[in-house]
């Protein structure tokens, strides 16, 4: 490589321009440029490392980089190697650009017209083929994983139908051994929190739903729109599309709670359409299923009984009834337009109203009942103008539904 500041082969120096005598020795210049170059590359690498560390060691509880099950792990295993290849390309290309900019910068006092090179066909063909080969290599495991994820679930998988509504998640367990023991023997149905056993494949069928809530204003009605079910630590997302059924396979390695949310814009409260998965150990799962198969217990506490009467009856002043939209197993309340409340206070039902608040948060439940739209803009549950004593009774009833 020629000395910086010197003539390149093929250069033209304009007649009359000063001869190339740099003010510092060529050796000093070369060393300075080398140092600058090295420093820039180290700085870039350091910044990248910091960002990466920031990404990996965070408090994020909904991270795609922290898989908690084999399906999410497969996705991360694809991403990470490609990411590092991209980092390598980044360093080479960006480093190259920076180096070229510094190495071939115009020096004051020298009027140089470089050799007018038009191209190099062999080189260009080469740098077209090389990336093509890298990409081809990357696409092989990619395609393999597409087909792996599209395979039919194993025979012992748990089957759940997931419905996205505005703006909450509904889960129904459709296996033959997951029916309730009362009434029409419907599938076990819960809202907001999907409960699953650990170490077992769960086959989710995603279905559109909605359109059963109406009101005096057009904005009161709920609509069947596209959503997307996403629990990053357990699986990739798939859209919930009205008119078709999509599928996700999921499995949790450990008991615990896994966060997620709707990932396809679905209207006003898309940003707070939260979902959770609670994975239970084998014993806890048995107990949970057994409890879900039973109808709601009739409360013994008088306040809770009062609440039950309010819930199942018509509210005074023509305000309507909770049973218009909500279901409680074993009672006359059977509508599926709104979240299932049969086991509202079960410990696994950690959150309510689109999973926006903790079930145990009494203040939040009270505020919700008082005026849903005031705490969740555009919520489809109307304001029933409940009196404080009515709210107290209803809360007692809801908390009795274990």
């Amino acid at each position: 490589m020629s000395r910086p500041g010197a003539r390149e082969p093929g250069d033209t120096v304009r007649p009359g321009s000063p001869s190339p005598t740099p003010s510092r020795s060529s050796r000093e210049l070369r060393e300075t440029e080398g140092t600058v170059r090295k420093r820039l590359l180290w700085a870039t690498a350091a910044v990248l490392l910091l960002l990466l560390l920031g990404a990996c060691s965070s408090d994020a509880t909904q991270s795609t980089l922290d898989p908690q099950g084999p399906y999410a792990q497969k996705l991360k295993d694809l991403f990470v190697p490609v990411f590092w290849v991209a980092v390598g390309v980044f360093i080479l290309v960006e480093g190259g650009i920076v180096w070229l900019a510094i190495r071939y910068r115009h020096r004051k006092g020298r009027d140089r017209i470089p050799a007018q090179i038009h191209g190099n066909t062999r080189l260009e063909i080469g740098w077209t083929i090389a990336p093509a080969l890298v990409l081809a290599a990357v696409m092989v495991p990619t395609v393999a994983t597409i087909w792996e994820l599209a395979a039919a679930p194993p025979k012992d998988a748990l089957h759940v139908e997931v419905r996205g509504l505005q703006w909450w998640w509904d889960f129904q367990y459709t296996d033959a051994d997951m029916q309730t023991s009362f009434g029409d023997r419907l599938p076990i149905r819960v809202a907001d929190v999907l409960v699953i056993p650990v170490d077992r494949v769960v086959s989710l069928s995603l279905l559109g739903a909605g359109g059963d809530i109406t009101g005096p204003e057009p904005a009161d009605a709920d609509h069947e729109v596209i959503h997307s079910f996403w629990i990053p630590e357990l699986a990739g997302k798939q859209d919930v599309v009205p008119g078709r059924t999509n599928h996700i396979l999921m499995q949790a390695d450990h008991p615990g709670t896994y966060e997620g949310q709707c990932a396809e814009f679905c209207g006003l409260q898309h940003g707070r359409m939260i979902a959770r998965v609670v994975a239970l150990s084998a014993d806890d799962w048995e107990a949970w299923v057994a409890n879900q198969k039973r109808p709601a217990a009739t409360p013994t506490d008088p306040l809770a009984r009062q609440g039950m009467d309010l819930f199942l009856g018509q509210l005074s002043g023509g305000r309507g009834s909770c049973v218009n939209c909500h279901a409680v197993g074993g009672t006359s309340a059977a509508s599926q337009a709104a979240p299932e409340l049969t086991h509202f206070a079960d410990p696994t039902h950690e959150c309510f109203a689109g999973c926006d608040w903790d079930t145990v948060d009494r203040k939040a439940l009270e505020a919700w009942l008082r005026n849903p739209g005031a705490v969740k803009f555009g919520a489809k549950m109307p304001n029933y103008h409940l009196r404080p004593d009515e709210i107290e009774a209803l809360m007692a009833y809801l908390y009795s539904l274990r």
Binding site: E8, G10, D11, G54, A60, T61, S63, T64, K74, K76, L78, F79, V82, F83, V89, V93, E94, G96, I97, L100, A101, Y104, H106, R112, I113, P114, A115, Q116, I117, H118, G119, N120, L123, E124, T128, P131, L135, V138, T142, V143, T145, I146, W147, A221, E224, V225, I226, G236, K237, Q238, P242, G243, R244, H247, E259, Q261, A263, F265, H270, G378
Partner: protein
């Protein structure tokens, strides 16, 4: 100085065809591609500022969890209009500004093929943009996202999605007319000797863009009509309960939407390919490869659309096919970068503001391109899609690549258009601020996306650990805003300074292409004499003669590079098309029809009459000929 006189006023009927090419009203009747280019550029810049304000609102809302600046209804309108504004009302028209101004000059023509259609395109664009923004005052702006998926769009009770459908039909008409115009111009109006492979790369990219538009806009127009009809006239194209399919909207939208992103970035590739050689003092490395890769992108760009739909459940066959085509299109997109690096190699690089924005733009585009390649890893995209990781990707390519390219082009071509050079010191300050602000805003979004932050969300829970990077992004956004302020100060400072001499601004950068052959600004007829082209980079070759064997240059004979006076008697014999007000009249019909569909059928009738009157006047008006 040659002048054009088109003085004979033929009195036909009550309305005389205008003749003035200067003065305030001449801006409303102009059919001069250069004035129209300036109109496009100024309008696009204003929309850029509006879209930027919308971005700042978004960033303030998201700086903290549970932000209260905007309620969800307001937020949905702001983020939707941010996307629509930046894509349809800023990037596309700003590219149109440069194509309009410079394609005729670069090919040695006097104007575009259809000057009045050119004016019509601009007015329809402006009126379409105003129509879209009037929605804020007429019941609510579009609130469904720039992609406006059905059935959310078909069932939303607000008037916003209807404004969306009609507004984009109107702006689509503008772009389609412009596409036909510029494509015909490039194909038919090239100067003698200007073969296709002597076209500047900017013109080639322009041609590919116009063809992409011509073939993709009809698709979205159909989709938008179907959306409008589902909402207003009771059809069920996207309604699954009545035999329709919501996914149909997505297929049609992305069949347009993917070529559209190449429409957004190819002008930037063209700009980089012009600026780099000038400020490296070397020709573009591998001109033919760069041109062919642009053409390849144009074709393959129609074969990748469903990579926006990997999570829709199209099935493994479709996902495999589109994953592979997406990987394929990365190749022609990426190798250009090596060609650009090859141009810098062994060059004599001058760090003007234009060059800084170009090098910075290429560097930012590389990052966006790399994250784009990770999206092609289909199952990994099941995690990435609909998260802030995607938001990071497209801002790196469209803003980092496209907007940086626009600022490069503004600094590069400002002397040619306005006869003044923008301040380099303020330009460099703007560049540094923008580079830092931009990376602070969008760099962390990669992390936010991978850590679970969804898109199009008006808030996020504080339990997700996303707060810090959101705060960083908000700070970055305000730095970007500061850099734009520096640019505006630059505009003011430049106009306050005394005007440079004609010689200083005719060819201040020692450039290579034909627009620098004429004065700055060019006369209305562009060239005293249409140049005959003998080579690629014709202007450079008139200044320097290259020894083919050694590549060494020697300056050409003095005066060889100047435009000669060939005895056309000061331009009196150059026949330019006359101004006209009919394109504006015809354009006015569009928003009237649009308002009519939403509010009153009488307005539709009025709009049709106005439009038809405009078209008849346009067709039948006399040309104003010289004696």
């Amino acid at each position: 100085m040659a002048t054009v006189t088109t003085t004979t006023r033929r009195r036909e009927g009550i309305l005389r065809r205008p003749t003035a090419t200067t003065g305030f009203t001449s801006w409303f009747t102009t059919i001069d591609h250069k004035k129209i280019g300036i109109l496009y550029g100024a309008t696009a810049f204003v929309f850029f500022l509006v879209g930027g304000l919308e971005a700042l609102l978004i960033r303030v809302q998201l700086a903290e969890p549970n932000g209260t600046l905007l309620n969800p209804a307001q937020y949905n309108q702001i983020f939707t209009m941010h996307g629509i504004t930046m894509i349809f009302l800023f990037v596309m028209p700003m590219a149109a500004a440069f194509f309009n101004y410079f394609i005729p000059l670069m090919i040695g023509a006097r104007d575009v093929a259809f000057p009045r259609l050119n004016a019509y395109s601009y007015w329809v664009f402006l009126l379409g943009g105003l129509f879209l923004y009037s929605s804020f005052f007429l019941g609510g702006a579009p609130n469904c996202g720039w992609f406006c998926y059905a059935p959310n769009s078909t069932t939303d009770p607000s008037i916003g999605p209807s404004f969306y459908a009609i507004g984009l039909i109107i702006t689509g008409i503008a772009s389609t007319a412009g596409a036909v115009n510029l494509a015909v111009t490039v194909i038919n109006l090239r100067a003698p000797g200007m073969s296709l492979f002597r076209l500047p790369v900017f013109v080639w990219m322009g041609l590919v863009v116009q063809l992409l538009l011509a073939f993709s806009l009809p698709i979205i127009t159909v989709a938008l009509f179907q959306l409008l009809f589902d909402r207003e006239f009771g059809t069920h194209f996207y309604d699954p309960t009545a035999g329709g399919d919501p996914v149909l909207w997505q297929q049609l939208f992305w069949l347009f939407g993917h070529p559209e992103v190449y429409v957004l970035i190819l002008p930037a590739f063209g700009i980089f390919s012009e600026v780099l050689p000038v400020f490296s003092r070397k020709p573009l490395f591998g001109y033919q490869f760069v041109v062919f890769s642009g053409i390849a992108i144009g074709f393959i760009g129609f074969g990748v659309w469903a990579h926006h739909m990997f999570a829709v459940g199209l099935g493994p066959v479709a996902n495999t096919a589109f994953g592979i085509t997406t990987a394929i299109i990365a190749i022609p997109t990426g190798v250009k970068i090596f060609n650009w690096m090859g141009t810098m190699h062994r060059g004599d690089i001058r760090f003007t503001t234009a060059m800084l924005f170009t090098i910075g733009g290429i560097a930012m585009f590389v990052i966006g391109g790399l994250s784009g390649v990770t999206h092609a890893i289909v199952p990994s995209d099941y995690q990435q899609t609909d998260t802030y990781y995607i938001v990071a990707h497209f801002h790196y390519v469209i803003f980092g690549g496209g907007v940086f390219a626009f600022f490069s082009a503004l600094f590069y071509w400002w002397p040619k258009v306005f006869g003044r050079t923008l301040s380099e010191r303020l330009g460099i300050a703007e560049f540094v601020l923008m580079l830092i602000g931009f990376n602070l805003t969008f760099g962390p979004m990669h992390i936010l996306g991978l850590e679970g932050m969804i898109r199009r969300t008006y808030t996020y829970p504080d339990s997700l650990g996303l707060t810090m990077w959101n705060q960083v992004a908000t700070v970055g956004a305000f730095l970007i805003a500061l850099s734009i302020l520096v640019f505006i100060v630059n505009l003011v400072v430049t106009y306050v300074k005394p005007r440079p001499s004609a010689a200083e601004v005719a060819d201040p950068w020692d450039a290579r292409t034909l627009e620098w052959l004429t004065t700055s600004p060019p006369p209305v007829y562009n060239f005293e004499e249409i140049p005959t082209v003998h080579a690629l980079d014709e202007f450079w070759h008139r200044k320097y003669v290259e020894d083919e064997r050694t590549g060494r240059l020697v300056p050409a004979q003095a005066g060889a590079a100047e435009a000669h006076d060939d005895g056309h008697a000061g331009g009196h014999a150059i026949h330019m098309p006359s101004p006209s007000f009919w394109p504006l009249v015809a354009a006015l019909g569009m928003p009237l029809i649009g308002y009519g569909v939403l509010f009153s059928w009488w307005l539709v009738g009025l709009g049709v009459i106005v439009a038809l009157t405009g078209f008849y006047g346009w067709a039948l008006e006399p040309s104003v000929a010289e004696d």
